[in-house]
Amino acid sequence: MNLVSEGDDETLIRIMSEDTIWYCGQCMSCKPRCPRGNIPGVVIQILRMISQKNGYFIHSAMGRQQLAVKRSIGHNILETGYCIHPTRVNPDLHPEQGPVWEWMSDNAPEVYGRFDKNYDASGPGLLRRISPESLEELDRIFEVTGCKNLWETLETESEKQIDGKFAKYD
């Protein structure tokens, strides 16, 4: 925080090109503590956004992971209307979820169907299928508010290699 409030542009660009800003977990526990009413978690949010819009993120291993976030959570949102969906939390990539999740994922229609007949169907209810019209509206919101732009930047910037330094992360 000290560097952010007192650093020159060069320092800020350096910070935005390093891993550190990506460590924050956005829990906002800092908010009720600051005696001067600042919210460091929000400062980090803003730095992350600038880092992505200006392509600084590709210089750090953790920054480069944003592409993976975009391709998972981002695509989930526009394709299903949910940030996460049972069909998209693959137990092989989530061994930490344990055997119960594997069972739920393998038998999703039966497991979820037990609690709501409307699972993956139209109408209200548990994990109902979001209508094409609603998905269309979401898509337009993402277009109009600049999120699509951000995503394009994430894709194009991430194609750049930095001396092959991060090949193993991409």
Partner: protein, 354 residues
């Protein structure tokens, strides 16, 4: 201006609710939200409406920085628009992260009306809709808090060990985004939230005050989403679990779907990693959501409200509370047909039913 926890008593509407669901809760606690709706409609006699057209608030994307503020504001404005179109004013939010975001957005609009106008423009352009801010906006756990005595009056079971008569020791975990950013929006504020403690006490249990009570579960959004940084996420849950262990809690209750999931799943992962177990008698600690807690107290069947979707088995808790359950019905579909067992749990079930 200056308040302390006893002063934070927020306004919670009485009836006529518009309900928005949570991505994480639907995925990992699939019985909980329908249970909540059922309690409101059939036990408390309230009107609660769910619009088929509402979507994710995009909160996980926002807090992992791939969704800009203007975008999430417009998505939330769309939910407000749906509420207005259906003629509702009182909003119940199922997800704590969403609740935090809704609170943040309303606060930002209050301080910056030009920003709100900008979002009105975006929503109109993208969807043709117009919106109004909710008259009352609360988290689902606030509703159970408000009606906790009504639920207690209908309770079939209490948070009491039915053999010893001792109250169960319950850890309450409040999602960070419930009140840390806006203490005035949480019952009891940020430091000593009363929202779950109120339920626990009203239903016969005893709250455990352990040192890391206010610590984050460790979700960290991108930190969990990205496999290499999941160590960050689990280490925070471990900090909490280690801190609560000496108190031998019977149960953990959380109002945030993410926290509930992590405190449940990470107990499995930690046991697999180094054998650590944090509950009494070398057992893991069952984790319930606030809806599930209410459901058990009200006498719903454990398997009909989804307790089989928890990684930590709940049978020990059911036995302590004296709640009967049928092991044969745990892993069945709607028609009662067995749909296979989770791999590792299989053995223990056979063992129990023998």
């Amino acid at each position: 201006m200056t308040k302390y926890w006893k002063d934070y008593q927020k306004e919670i509407a009485e009836d006529e609710f518009f309900y928005v669901r949570s991505c994480i809760r639907q995925n990992f606690f699939p019985g909980a939200e329908n249970l909540f709706i059922d309690i409101l409609r059939n036990k408390l006699g309230k009107a609660i409406f769910e619009d088929a057209d509402h979507t994710t608030c995009t909160g996980i994307g926002y807090h992992s920085d791939i969704v800009p503020l203007e975008t999430i504001m417009t998505v939330v404005a769309r939910q407000f628009a749906l509420m207005k179109e259906r003629g509702y004013k009182n909003m119940i939010v199922s997800c704590v992260t969403s609740f935090g975001i809704y609170s943040e957005i309303l606060d930002l609009w209050k301080h910056d009306p030009a920003l709100k106008s900008k979002i009105e423009g975006y929503l109109k352009e993208a969807t043709g809709r117009t919106f109004e801010e909710p008259g009352n906006m609360v988290h689902a756990s606030d509703i159970l808090y408000k009606f906790r005595q009504e639920i207690a009056a209908q309770a079939r079971y209490r948070l009491v060990n039915h053999e010893t008569g001792q109250p169960l020791k319950v850890v309450d975990h409040i999602g960070c985004h419930y009140a840390k950013t806006f203490p005035e929006r949480g019952v009891g504020g940020a430091e000593f939230p009363q929202v779950l403690t109120g339920l626990i006490r009203a239903w016969g249990g005893e709250t455990v005050d352990y040192p890391e009570r206010r610590h984050c579960c460790g979700f960290g959004f991108r930190q969990y989403i990205l496999q290499p940084s999941r160590g960050y996420s689990i280490s925070h849950s471990r900090t909490k679990l280690e801190s609560m262990k000496p108190y031998e809690p019977d149960l953990i209750v959380a109002n945030c779907p993410g926290c509930s999931m992590f405190l449940d799943r990470w107990q499995y992962t930690l046991e697999e990693t180094d054998g650590s177990v944090y509950g009494p008698a070398n057992e893991k600690i069952p984790v319930l959501t606030h809806e599930e807690l209410a459901g058990l107290v009200l006498g719903y069947d454990p398997w009909e409200i989804g307790l089989q979707t928890h990684q930590v088995p709940v049978e020990g808790l059911l036995e302590k509370m004296g709640i009967p359950y049928d092991p044969e019905k745990k892993y069945t579909d709607r028609s009662g047909r067995v749909i296979g067992h989770p791999e590792k749990i299989h053995n223990s079930i056979c063992h129990e039913s023998r």
